[in-house]
């Protein structure tokens, strides 16, 4: 019996050793990998104890593990507020809003913070719609499918009123959501969207401090990052003007 396949493997001493070693490594890895829930609780605790540096580090650890959520960005932004880094705070409130545009606490805090740095300007319609870019994507796709399926169904059952009703709803919806999608593109989920995290920032004609200043920007101003060339980044602001800013003064909405 012991000469049959599985038992013969077990009977070999070297095989047994290698299995034991693998099991040991596996369990060590499992223990050493931090539990995200534990890290989250520790970060919250550090925040409560006003140890903002530690809280920041723990939240950043969760971020580096890709544990993105609106609550994480919200708490991280609060930590930045406490540490006096308003630029990063604005950016992280914006991130929370990208994940949930209706997240009222983030909206309120962002409004308050932006007001406090004197950059409270009405956001453009395109920027406001940009939070809902995924909604428009889904709207276009779903209405597009409904229109195609409605047409196919109408070809099968030419007398079907249901197919006519579906087409009556789906085609205008497809046109509207499709047009909006074409206009805003990825919106605020674009990996080119960035915000100023230092202020004031001089936006310049060329990548150098001696280049002429086009405009000076405050904190939390949205930019479109066109190109990053080392210490300088080429970006475009909302009114279409483009110029160079130091790379460390801006950060993208999509965490890097």
């Amino acid at each position: 019996l012991f000469k049959s396949f599985p038992f013969s493997l077990l009977a070999s001493r070297s095989s047994l050793l290698s299995i034991a070693f693998t099991t040991l490594i596996w369990s060590v890895c499992a223990v050493s990998a931090a539990d995200p829930a534990e890290t989250w609780n520790q970060a919250n605790q550090a925040y409560q104890q006003r140890n903002y540096t530690r809280a920041d580090a723990l939240y950043a650890q969760l971020l580096s593990e890709g544990m993105y959520s609106r609550e994480l960005f919200f708490n991280l932004a609060n930590t930045y507020v406490q540490r006096g880094d308003k630029g990063q705070a604005i950016l992280n409130y914006q991130r929370a809003l990208v994940l949930d545009p209706q997240f009222a606490p983030a909206k309120a805090n962002l409004h308050s913070l932006v007001q406090s740095v004197g950059e409270l300007e009405p956001e453009s319609i395109r920027f406001a719609l940009g939070y809902y870019s995924q909604f428009f994507l889904w709207g276009t796709v779903v209405s597009g499918w409904l229109a195609i399926l409605g047409l196919a169904w109408l070809a099968l059952r030419s007398e079907s009123n249901l197919a006519r009703l579906v087409l009556f709803v789906a085609i205008p919806l497809f046109l509207v959501t499709g047009a909006l999608l074409a206009w805003i593109g990825p919106g605020n989920r674009s990996n080119k969207l960035a915000f100023t995290i230092r202020a004031p920032i001089d936006i310049r004609f060329g990548p150098g401090r001696s280049a002429r200043v086009i405009r000076t920007l405050g904190l939390g101003v949205p930019l479109r990052l066109l190109s990053v060339r080392g210490e300088w980044s080429l970006c475009e602001i909302e009114d279409g003007a483009s110029g160079w800013v130091p790379t460390e003064t801006v950060d993208t909405i999509v965490p890097r």
């Binding site: 609550e71 406490q82 309120a108 740095v117 070809a155 989920r189």
Partner: protein, 579 residues
């Protein structure tokens, strides 16, 4: 007429009131000159009506008013009026002369230019290329300083001389000189100044480019040369006797060519900024600066926003001038600033940088915000911190309770304790219910998998459509085959004239089945016309048609002979065999 006049008056007054801010600035045509060589001073008043030429005087300089001119410009639909006052300045001896700020009266207001410095050097001092009066063109680089600090802007001049008989223009147009060297940056070039000079009794045009040079690191900054390309027309020797073609050529006697005019090199010693005494808020500003401030309105209540403007004026590297910091932080909350820089000279070294804040008084006070600004003064070689004059204000009301957020001040989500302009945020911590990573990308996770469902439904619908088409095709064929069998049976039984109609129909059905024209069956009359039938078959089919028509449509029973069943079958078989 009266209403038209009033309307005109209104339009004129509206235009006058919408005029932009008045600006006054002064410029020297050259920063350096030689003893006895004149330099032009130009005072520019934009959008204002100055009372007259301002008085300009400076110790050691002979300054003479030389004239006034006015320029009207349409600036984006708005008329801009610029008045220029020109002065000629001469000094008989060498030295560095300061022209103090010039006061210009414009209407009820008085404006002031920045101070200007003119260096009068010995003819060869500071020049990198000895003037060569035997050449039709040459270049000259002038750096009036031998040393500077890292980050300090040193004004420079690039002069390109051309014999008065030489026509020239920068080539390509709009091209600015290139300075060959490392370890420095230059500021932008304003439009070059063109003037006439006399060197050793010979007249020259000189094109002067001004800029400023900023050393990037300590050490010797060596400029190897600077050059600019020009397109020139030089006088050329004529052939004698002249060729008739040459006489008609307008460029005869001139040689047109593209040349590179090069200056000599220079070395400037760049010194590091001292570490000792460097203020914490030093932002890299090097020069001589002063602060001015104003608060509008000067009276208000605690929590009510006011406008506060602090201006940094002077001479230096304004691109490194950052917002001054607030001294009396307990009294005021600052929001902003918005920044605007107005250059007072062409190069941007003499300027006013204005920081405009919205300020909120946190408690009752009679002192406006006090700002401080630190810079390095290269003439004194030390760091200087200046404070803005404190404006007198009258703020009343109870002090704000808190000016900084604390983690305990949590409330309902979105609810904030509203102290005006405060940084209060909702510091409530939210617990994550799940750690499932949210997707930050534009295309949601699983997006393409979700498309499989409707795609399958669409496939099913297409399959249904195809099936229906095929079934429809088959049902027609089946119906015709059944009819054909039935007709054959009837033909076998019938001897009457009806058999003629049956035979005709059988040929038509056979044709439809063979050519898959199931839904529209061709009548025999058209089948007979088909070109690919043999003549024998066509004759038989014609005969069949004729007999059928005679049997059914002639009206006389005696005129036709019913063919036998076998004859008809033979005709049909002949058709089938031929088909």
């Amino acid at each position: 007429m009266k209403s038209f006049f009033l309307l005109f008056l209104f339009a004129v007054s509206a235009q006058a009131t919408s005029l932009p801010v008045t600006r006054v600035r002064a410029n020297l045509s050259q920063l350096t000159t030689g003893p006895g060589e004149p330099v032009e001073l130009k005072i520019e008043v934009v959008n204002g009506h100055p009372a007259g030429p301002p008085n300009v005087s400076a110790d050691g300089l002979k300054i003479e008013y030389s004239g006034q001119s006015t320029r009207l410009q349409n600036d984006g639909g708005q008329i801009r009026i610029t008045t220029f006052f020109s002065y000629t300045i001469i000094s008989d001896h060498e030295g560095s002369f300061v022209i103090p700020p010039i006061r210009v009266a414009v209407g009820p207001n008085s404006y002031q230019t920045g101070a200007l410095t003119l260096k009068v050097l010995h003819r060869d001092a500071g020049k990198t290329n000895p003037t060569s009066s035997d050449k039709p063109y040459f270049g000259e680089l002038i750096i009036p300083r031998e040393s500077a600090f890292v980050g300090e802007a040193v004004p420079i001049e690039l002069r390109f001389y051309f014999d008065a008989r030489v026509w020239y223009e920068p080539y390509p147009q709009g091209q600015y000189p290139i300075i060959d060297g490392d370890g420095f940056v230059t500021t932008r070039y304003p439009e070059p100044v063109d003037k006439m000079v006399e060197i050793d009794g010979k007249a020259y045009h000189v094109l002067i480019y001004r800029s400023a040079l900023v050393g990037a690191h300590a050490g010797d900054l060596t400029i190897r040369s600077a050059y600019q390309e020009f397109l020139v027309q030089l006088p050329a020797s004529r052939n004698w006797p002249p060729n008739p073609d040459e006489l008609l050529d307008p460029l005869n006697g001139f040689e047109r060519k593209d040349i590179k005019v090069e200056t000599g090199g220079a070395t400037v010693k760049i010194r590091p900024l001292p570490d000792s005494g460097r203020p914490v808020d030093f932002s890299g500003a090097i020069g001589t600066f002063s602060l001015e401030s104003s608060v509008q309105p000067s009276a208000g209540k605690v929590g009510e926003p006011l406008e506060f403007v602090v201006s940094v004026k002077g001479l230096g590297n304004f691109d490194r001038v950052q917002a001054p910091s607030l001294n009396n932080t307990g009294d005021w909350l600052l929001h902003g600033p918005s920044v605007q820089t107005d250059d007072l000279d062409d190069v941007g070294l003499n300027a006013v940088k204005e920081f405009r804040y919205t300020i909120v008084p946190a408690r009752s006070t009679d002192r406006g915000p006090e700002m401080k600004f630190s810079f390095f003064d290269p003439t004194q070689e030390k760091y200087v911190t200046v404070t803005s004059p404190v404006a007198a204000v009258r703020i009343t009301g109870a002090a704000l309770s808190s000016t900084s957020p604390s983690p305990e001040t949590s409330g309902t989500p979105g609810g904030q304790s509203s102290s005006a302009g405060n940084d209060t945020t909702d510091s409530k911590l939210y617990n994550l219910s799940t750690f499932a990573p949210a997707n930050f990308g534009f295309v949601p996770r699983g997006f393409w998998w979700w498309q499989i469902g409707p795609a399958l439904v669409l496939l099913a619908l297409f399959a249904q459509l195809w099936r229906r088409y095929r079934v429809g095709q088959n049902s027609d064929r089946r119906r015709l085959e059944i009819e054909r069998r039935r007709l054959w049976r009837q033909l076998n039984r019938s001897e009457s004239k009806e058999s003629l109609r049956i035979a005709t129909r059988l040929v038509e059905i056979d044709f439809a089945l063979r050519h898959s024209t199931l839904s529209s069956i061709l009548p025999l009359e058209e089948i007979v016309q088909l070109p690919d039938l043999t003549s024998e078959l066509r004759t038989k089919l014609d005969d069949l048609l004729r007999k059928r028509d005679e049997a059914f449509y002639s009206g006389s029973a005696s005129d036709y002979t019913t063919p036998s069943r076998e004859e008809l079958k033979a005709t049909i078989r002949a058709w089938e065999a031929a088909a």
